[in-house]
Symmetry: C2
Amino acid sequence: MAHRPTSRDVAQAAGVSQATVSLVLGDKWRGRVSERTAGLVRDTARELGYRPNLAARHLRLGRTRTALLVVPALTNEFFARVYTGAAGMAAEHGFGVVLYPSPEGVGPARDPFASARAALDGVIASSMAAQTLGAIRGTDLPLVMLDSDPDDPVPAARVNVDIADGMRQVAAHLLGLGHRRFVHLASAVPSWTFEVRARALREALRQVPGTSLRTVSAPLNADAAREAAERALTSPETSGGGPDATALVCDDDILAAGACKAVRRLGRRVPDDVSVTGFDDLALATAVEPELTTVRLPAERVGEQGMAALLAVLDGRSFEAPDLPVSLIPRASTARAPR
Amino acid sequence: MAHRPTSRDVAQAAGVSQATVSLVLGDKWRGRVSERTAGLVRDTARELGYRPNLAARHLRLGRTRTALLVVPALTNEFFARVYTGAAGMAAEHGFGVVLYPSPEGVGPARDPFASARAALDGVIASSMAAQTLGAIRGTDLPLVMLDSDPDDPVPAARVNVDIADGMRQVAAHLLGLGHRRFVHLASAVPSWTFEVRARALREALRQVPGTSLRTVSAPLNADAAREAAERALTSPETSGGGPDATALVCDDDILAAGACKAVRRLGRRVPDDVSVTGFDDLALATAVEPELTTVRLPAERVGEQGMAALLAVLDGRSFEAPDLPVSLIPRASTARAPR
DNA sequence: TCGTCATCGTGTTACGTATAACCTACTGGC
DNA sequence: GCCAGTAGGTTATACGTAACACGATGACGA
């Protein structure tokens, strides 16, 4: 038997029919097959190293117990943690999760379903993976969106993090330290999750008289962030909050790392002259110096809830859950405003 | 037709047999089907939005044109780039690549093949994914190893980066700057790729009289690295190369970031008092300050070559390639030795 | 007129699994 | 003695695709 053993091989070796093997190994034998035979089948299967042929099973069942997780970029540690959470929850229900990293920028839109190399029961997608979202909507697969606009009615379910609250906590933290002149270093990636940050910050500052806010944006890499921050901290903007800003609020830890470099390059210090905040609490946040004050997002929980939502939808149930809570982690990159 | 259209549906709509549809869409029709009919079939398929059922195709063919890429951790940007390279090369040959992130540390060894959710033609695995390697060897799938010990005869093919040369370049760079007392901050992850670094550094320094080398190791995160580096730079070691070291050679950029923090925490400066080098040239290397002198590895090339090797093996050909070259990127974290 | 050959297809099968439908003792009850 | 019921299986089938092994038709040379 040079070939991989099939259920028929197991059946022959055990002296039963293929159907019996299928019943026993599928755990549907209670009351239909004797304890003795079931044991024999299991032993034989183990002995032969039988592994069911997934393609055949999928063909037969139509369902695959497989979900696709669409992430904007593989590099982003946040989504690595989302995957971990989703895979864990999936495993508890006999599901698998395969990853599709959406090509960054405007790459050649590969086919996410062809590259998944498996039939899919559903999709969990980050709203940042805009590249790929169109292709998904072209199918009738149930779609769970992560951090997406609640007004957008497309997905079957939605799992959101309370981003707005995170930004409010950042604002409160900085206001409490006496800061009044802010720069918002925003992500240039168009996504709801970043729009929310901008809106929440703007509104939080509007509550406090005498504050000013200027916004610049940059793609999600440290160099671009540094340049954008330098620009914001030097060019004399008319509407205040520019060169003399004391707080730099960033959409993301990577941007914050770039911002810190900009500050120092301009001869000022973090946090003595300018306070900087990040978002996400990536490993990077504690790798740079000073360590970043940032907002920790429950990435694993996002994955878990996303998978739970998908399972619910596949089960015909509906899924509603409150936004997941976040928490501000104060570290060394923020301090009392100067003067 | 509420269902997804099958090749039979296309056949019926086009007024031909299913076999013809299969021939045309499989691009095997030349000389067997008229140009006119082929065009008709293709148009009909497009119109109906026909997508071949992968499970059925895989079942029929036995081969899946799918490779599994086993990476040690999803977070590691290096492997994200390896994936990109591998996926690109695969796409050129009608192959797909699915990812399996080996559980970090000693997690519950999930089954990489079950979680791949598809039958596989072969596996490309990093030698760092020790967790998962055992399970792979249990199968008879062709295995391509990345950065593995050339004396280990297991895999069908091997793709290595000239790590040793990278470390020699680091040593030459630092020796050229006048450094003589070294600390090697090594990765605690057991893997050939790290052993090579240690050996190459040791041998490069042995060439130069009057040098000293001390080695400490840490897991791949910034905090652990900082602690290990602090230990090495304070505790009075008998054999020299300890507290008064002027060069800190790190196995990895993440370790280097931690090392920089250790140096500053001890009241010394990078690079004025202590030079620090990394490895890999991750985004982190330019996100921290000072930017890290490091060794750039051709990650995408590793993926491409890995896939090329697998394709060759599947094709019955053998694959031999020289180690991929690396290059030292001098940045701000290294400078002339003090005094 | 007939055989040969190329052109353009089609019928059929198998891949390995899950499951509905059926079959065959055997046991008990009356 | 016979029927009902149940335990313990088996047989047969379909899922959607690829590809092998056959036609059928017509043109053409001898």
